[in-house]
């Protein structure tokens, strides 16, 4: 691959993601203070010892932001990857097999989508024990319904192409057809969806944390930090905006990279594309 062919916007995205991942990996090294240490007065303004000020309990905001990157990125990424694996495999199977299998999966999916996501998540998370992996799993399953819908739509489009028919005529099995014939031709829309879903995962996690069912305090995560500091806004203290800005920046960065990847895969040697 030619590094020069990467557009400027993608470089911005790559840089943003790299910084976030660097923070997540080396949080204990680069954070000036501990994640849970109360180091000063509450809601100190930015500057001095505390680069971004302190939060509602007097903890260093920058340190919490750095530690928060860890949980936020890990949970959102794990949930998105899992939901994509699940949604894509099921939707492609439905599209390739057709008939009863398709009807069963699709109607079950409709059933799942009929229940409001947030309420569903709240109920399930309230019942189940509070482990991180359960949180990830619940987010993944709920999100996979969306992936299923788009996955089935794009796969159906490709499944009627003649090269898939040619593969069937050859006697290929469903696994080959799904992974070798259909998957490579549906990557563009799915990559686009991945970027969007990742951003939504961060938001969803933040929502859950905000409602007290996501990441449990005192562990830091960006959504929870917004919640902790939201009351400050009334007094003109911008502490809540900083983790909010971090969420927005990461979401934008991911989408910048995905946009470029999408263009690349769809223009690649005459793929079916929209670039």
């Amino acid at each position: 691959m030619n590094l020069r062919a990467i557009p400027f916007s993608a470089w911005i995205g790559i840089a943003g993601i790299a910084i976030a991942i660097f923070c997540a990996l080396f949080a204990p090294v680069i954070a000036p203070f501990g994640e849970r240490d109360v180091v000063g007065d509450i809601w100190l303004p930015a500057g001095g010892d505390f680069l971004l000020g302190t939060d509602n309990l007097g903890r260093d905001l920058l340190s919490r932001l750095i530690y928060g990157a860890r949980t936020t990125i890990f949970v959102a990424l794990a949930a998105t990857v899992l939901s994509f694996s699940l949604g894509m495999i099921l939707s492609f199977t439905a599209a390739v097999m057709g008939g009863f299998v398709d009807q069963f999966f699709s109607r079950f999916n409709d059933l799942m989508m009929a229940i409001p996501t947030l309420i569903f998540a709240l109920v399930v998370l309230a019942v189940l024990p509070q482990h991180l992996w359960i949180l990830i799993l619940v987010m993944a399953v709920l999100d996979s319904t969306r992936v299923f819908r788009i996955g089935r739509a794009v796969a159906l489009d490709v499944a009627v192409m003649e090269f898939v028919e040619a593969a069937r005529l050859r006697g290929e099995g469903s696994t080959w057809i799904i992974f070798r014939e259909i998957l490579p031709n549906t990557l563009s829309p799915l990559l686009a969806e991945f970027g969007l879903r990742f951003a939504f995962s961060i938001l969803f996690l933040s929502t859950l944390s905000f409602l007290g069912l996501g990441i449990q305090p005192p562990a830091a995560d960006w959504g929870g930090m917004v919640k902790d500091n939201k009351d400050g806004i009334i007094f003109g203290i911008s502490a809540a905006l900083i983790p909010g800005a971090a969420i927005a920046t990461l979401a934008i960065c991911v989408n910048l990279v995905v946009d470029w990847l999408m263009k690349r895969t769809s223009s690649l040697k005459g793929g079916r594309g929209d670039a």
Binding site: A5, E162, F163, E165, A166, R168, R170, N185
Partner: protein, 550 residues
């Protein structure tokens, strides 16, 4: 060059036209490509100029330049397009707008895609005239009625009330011609108006267009890749290749005494004829009383029987909707027949694909009409051709690569194509790779579903010759589905004529294509344009005589 002296009073005079486009190859800086260079011609009032060439020759691009229009990213960078002596390339937006759809009109290839399905035909036909304020609604309606009559549309009084989906493809193409003629333009650009139609429909549309042009004294640019069609309708012909003029002359001169090698090749293309095999008694493939249909009870095939001896070619001819492709799907097992049976090499084939063994699948391979969609765009030639080798014969590594190279040699393509993607191949090369994929399975029968109808004539001839060569080398049999009688003459041993899902005629080529004919075969054979000036008039005249005799 004809009429270069009379350029002054020409209606349309194109001088030294140069058209460029910018392409964006992935990972490389944008490139400027020259599509058309140094093209000049004059068109007198009421005359027809045929622009002919293979795809990519720039004929549509030139046609659209008469409307001062370039498709996405295409720029007219040099030369002049004089309409009545005024250069329309120098006009501003409003100036061009007053010309398009009023003085110069355009008829697109696919009328089905060019009409708005939500509006009635009549409203769409008169829309341009009203928008340009050329005539009042009443006048426009009157003119539309007149044009519907001239174009021979059924029930001209009520035709305009219909929606596009309520009329046939041929009628839609004529309605589009009416739309172009309605504002009384000086020039019409016809962009392959009959290419998407069946031969039996094409002749009607062609006759209607010719009649309408003569009747209204409109000048026309007629773009096509079929020299036989253009010979019927145009006064002059310009042969184009790679955006440059190859030959420009009167129709008579170009058809009867072509000066350039390329034109000669175009004129003589598809005149190859092959003698049929003398012994046609064997039955490798036997189709007995097969009926099939889609969905609930809608039958497409009715009681079709035919057979094919080993190593020979059976051509199935018919227009679209005749069920010929459906028959291919039945043979492959994609569509299980509702009645009848198919025997291959003395053994009855299981009806559905699922019931067939890998070896049964291997022995019958298929080549599609559109090589583009028949190959996975994300696999290289190596993967595409190599997959049947590993799937059926368990080949891998060096042995597989060696065999792929061998196959590429067989289809007359070098090993440098090994790692190319389908999009990096030309149309003819793609079809060759598709043939190599079929060959890789070492089949005994190859079903060819119109493999050449999407290709340019010279390329198509190359493919046909390749198929014949491969048949000699490997003794493979072909079931060749086509709508083109010329191809049937060139390659078939036996012929089956199909019409509306029924077998009309079946037998050795010499018998099927010789009189006495049944009505449908007669119509089909007479509708194929011949490379001969005056053919259209002759056919129409015999038709009139016949109907008068009745």
């Amino acid at each position: 060059m004809p009429e270069s002296s009379s350029a002054k009073n020409a209606l349309l005079s194109v001088k030294n036209l140069k058209i460029e486009a910018t392409s964006y190859p992935p990972g490389e800086p944008p490139k400027t490509v020259t599509l058309v260079e140094g093209v000049s011609f004059d068109l007198q009032k009421g005359k027809v100029l045929g622009l002919i060439g293979e795809s990519g020759a720039g004929k549509s691009t030139i046609g659209l330049s008469a409307l001062a229009y370039g498709r996405g990213g295409v720029r007219i960078t040099g030369g002049q397009v004089l309409l009545d002596g005024k250069d329309i390339l120098t006009l501003d937006k409003n100036g061009i707008r007053s010309i398009r759809g009023a003085r110069v009109c355009y008829v697109a290839q696919s009328a089905a895609a060019a009409f708005n399905p939500a509006h009635r035909l009549g409203d769409q036909v008169i829309e341009a005239s009203l928008r340009h304020g050329i005539m009042s609604r009443e006048e426009a309606k009157k003119r539309a009625l007149y044009l519907f009559q001239v174009l021979g549309l059924p029930n001209p009084e009520s035709f305009g009330e219909r929606y596009p989906h309520q009329v046939s493809g041929g009628q839609l193409q004529r309605a589009m011609t009416a739309m172009a003629l309605c504002p009384n333009p000086e020039l019409i650009v016809f962009d392959e108006p009959t290419t998407a139609l069946d031969v039996t429909t094409q002749i009607d549309v062609l006759a209607a267009i010719k009649h309408a042009i003569e009747e209204t004294h409109t000048a026309a640019l007629y773009i096509t890749h079929d020299l036989a069609v253009v010979a019927q309708i145009s006064d002059d012909i310009m042969v184009l290749r790679h955006g440059k003029t190859v030959e420009y002359g009167t129709t008579k001169q170009v058809i009867e005494a072509p000066r350039e090698d390329y034109t000669r090749a175009l004129v003589s293309v598809r005149q190859t004829k092959r003698d049929e095999a003398p012994d046609q008694t064997g039955t490798q493939l036997k189709i007995e009383h097969v009926s099939a249909g889609y969905g609930n009870g809608f039958k497409v095939l009715h009681d079709v029987s035919m057979h094919l001896p080993k190593g020979q070619t059976l051509a199935i001819v018919g227009e679209s909707g005749s069920g010929k492709s459906t028959l291919a799907r039945v043979i492959t097992g994609l569509l299980p027949p509702t009645e009848g049976r198919i025997t291959f090499e003395g053994k009855e084939l299981p009806r559905a694909l699922k019931g067939r063994s890998t070896d049964e699948l291997r022995r019958i391979q298929m080549i599609y009409q559109m090589a583009d969609t028949a190959m996975n765009p994300r696999q290289t030639v190596r993967d595409i051709v190599g997959r049947p080798l590993s799937f059926y014969f368990g080949m891998h590594g060096a042995k597989k690569t060696a065999r792929v190279k061998e196959l590429l040699d067989q289809i007359e393509m070098g090993t440098r194509f090994l790692d190319r993607y389908p999009a990096e191949l030309s149309g003819g090369q793609k079809q060759r790779v598709a043939i190599a994929r079929a060959l890789a399975a070492e089949p005994e029968l190859i079903l060819c579903d119109e493999p050449t109808s999407a290709l340019d004539p010279l390329v198509a001839e190359g493919i046909l010759n390749l198929l014949l060569k491969l048949q000699e080398e490997t003794a493979v049999s072909y079931v060749f589905i086509t709508h083109d009688i010329a191809i049937v003459r060139a390659i078939a041993d036996s012929v089956a004529v199909m019409h509306r899902g029924r077998l009309v005629r079946f037998g050795p080529k010499s018998k099927v294509l010789a009189p006495p004919f049944d009505d449908y075969t007669d119509l089909l054979l007479k509708s194929v344009p011949e490379m001969e000036i005056g053919w259209l008039e002759r056919v129409l005249a015999t038709r009139r005589m016949e109907s008068a005799g009745n």
